[in-house]
């Protein structure tokens, strides 16, 4: 895209991205927060497109819609006031976190302004899909492989964490009751009823 075209797209979309990103944390309606985050990161995908990264922009647009919708789901499940009708205040340490945020942003902005970046080369075309494909399958094969394995571990770990009954499964009828360690004696070892079942049982009983 030409310089003027990029500028025409960049300024409004960057403004929208920042404003919607800020309003994610200032709204009290949960569905709106999730959808504002979708707007912010989706508009970031448009910025990627304006900065001549076609594949990355389209990928960002594609993935953000699915992720943010899931986020709305979880917020409706787990938050006390998903509709935002009561206007609960969900922040703590407002002043300190705002100060930290502003401080870090200013520091990064100063770093961006004061560093001597290499001059932009003439062509200014980001790698197209073909080049990215060759990179992924060639030099960065290891990286991609590990990213894939990370996703797999995340899937398995997430299911293990979130499954009913935890990783030991739901108690079948006939199992003895779960041994809950008496409170206040964290250092002591309480043998579960039914005998020791090996080292793996230590610390395995969550408070049910």
């Amino acid at each position: 895209m030409s310089g003027l075209g990029t500028a025409l797209v960049f300024w409004p979309t960057a403004a929208i991205m920042l404003v919607t990103g800020l309003y994610v944390f200032r709204t009290s309606s949960m569905a709106r927060a999730g959808l504002l985050l979708l707007a912010s990161l989706g508009v970031e995908g448009l910025i990627f497109l304006a900065l001549a990264s076609e594949f990355l922009g389209v990928l960002q647009l594609l993935m953000m819609s699915g992720e943010m919708v899931i986020m709305v789901f979880f917020m409706v499940m787990f938050m006390a006031d998903p509709g935002g009708l009561m206007g609960m205040d969900m922040t703590h340490d407002k002043r300190r976190s705002a100060a930290a945020a502003v401080g870090v942003a200013v520091a990064l902005a100063l770093l961006a302004l004061l560093t001597d970046w290499p001059a932009a080369t003439l062509s200014g075309e980001a790698p197209d899909v073909r080049a990215i494909g060759f990179e992924v399958m060639g030099r960065s094969m290891f990286t991609f492989l590990f990213a894939g394995m990370t996703i797999l571990f995340a899937i398995v770990g997430g299911i293990m964490l979130a499954a009913q009954g935890g990783r030991l499964g739901i108690a079948a009828p006939g199992d003895d009751g779960v041994a809950v360690p008496p409170p206040g004696r964290a250092g002591q070892h309480v043998p579960p009823p039914g005998g020791e079942e090996g080292h793996a049982m230590h610390g395995a009983e969550p408070a049910r």
Partner: protein, 302 residues
């Protein structure tokens, strides 16, 4: 993309939506009546703008707009003829999936914005199903793009000049068509917003202009789905005697008619069965389709 393309695409969307409405009437066995369709469309515009007491006005009003925007952009990525390709991005096939993916937040916004329990549940049901459909769509598109060595839809059409991709990659075809039917709200996959289900589903709180926009968006989605199927799997504009545009129009119409006819003949798919089938069978089958695509592109297209 020339300066006239946006207007051409919008005109195509409107004319195509009318054509899809007529096709629906034909498939239902009634006589196609363009006057009836036009009267119904204009009737929605004439109704007073009655906004029911909704819980979230921004989302309520924004959902049909997002739905229509997603539908029209998805329509814009379909390559119709070599001369009129719409948004000719080099990642156009993925852009199509991305535009379809924005149907999901639109339905969620519609359900949540209406605020009533059944609409919210309808919206959530659609989200649960759409997450399962997105993967077969993207993987089927990848499987078709592999032999073409490009994600540009026009290039994928070009490589089918000898044989349509539906014959070479039947598994990808069999996965793509139901998934894209589900995104376009075509029965038998229209559980979240069918008239008889759960009080009418996610869109039932809309009246007047909003309902008109939602209906228009649904028809544009059907047109985009049929067009992309014809382009990616049936060879697009390739054909022996007739001109390119006519072949593409015929193929799109045939696919749309087949999708709508399937909707009338088949019983509606149930939610637990559909979710189970999508995650347990469709996603692994989509991975197999990609493996097959790799084999095909090495063995045949080299």
């Amino acid at each position: 993309m020339s300066a006239a393309s946006p207007f051409a695409i919008v005109a195509l969307a409107l004319v195509g939506a009318m054509a899809v409405a007529l096709l629906e009437q034909v498939v239902a066995g009634a006589r196609p009546s363009p006057a009836g369709v036009a009267r119904a469309a204009l009737g929605t515009l004439r109704q007073p703008l009655a906004v029911p007491q909704v819980k979230d006005a921004w989302l309520y009003h924004g959902a049909p707009v997002l739905l229509l925007l997603g539908g029209v952009l998805a329509l814009a990525t379909v390559p119709w003829t070599p001369g009129f390709r719409g948004l000719d991005f080099s990642t156009g096939a993925i852009l199509y999936s991305a535009c379809l993916a924005y149907v999901t937040p639109a339905v969620l916004m519609a359900g949540w914005g209406a605020g009533r329990p059944l609409q919210v549940v309808g919206g959530f049901r659609f989200v649960a199903l759409m997450l399962a459909y997105e993967m077969p769509i993207v993987m089927a598109v990848t499987a078709v793009a592999a032999p073409a060595e490009s994600l540009r839809p026009a290039a994928i059409v070009e490589i089918q000049h000898a044989v349509p991709m539906a014959l070479v990659q039947p598994l990808a075809f069999a996965l793509f068509v139901p998934a894209v039917m589900a995104v376009a709200f075509i029965p038998p996959f229209d559980l979240p917003q069918a008239p008889g289900e759960l009080g009418g589903g996610a869109f039932s709180a809309y009246t007047g202009v909003h309902a008109g926009i939602v209906s228009l968006a649904q028809k544009v989605l059907v047109l985009g789905a049929a067009g992309m199927t014809a382009a990616l799997f049936l060879g697009g504009w390739h054909g022996p005697l007739l001109p390119d545009a006519l072949w593409m129009a015929l193929k799109t119409a045939a696919v749309a008619a087949a999708m709508l006819a399937a909707g009338r003949r088949l019983p509606r798919a149930e939610l637990p069965w559909l979710l189970g089938a999508a995650w347990k069978y469709a996603v692994p089958a989509a991975i197999l389709a990609i493996v097959w695509a790799g084999f095909v592109s090495l063995a045949v297209y080299q």
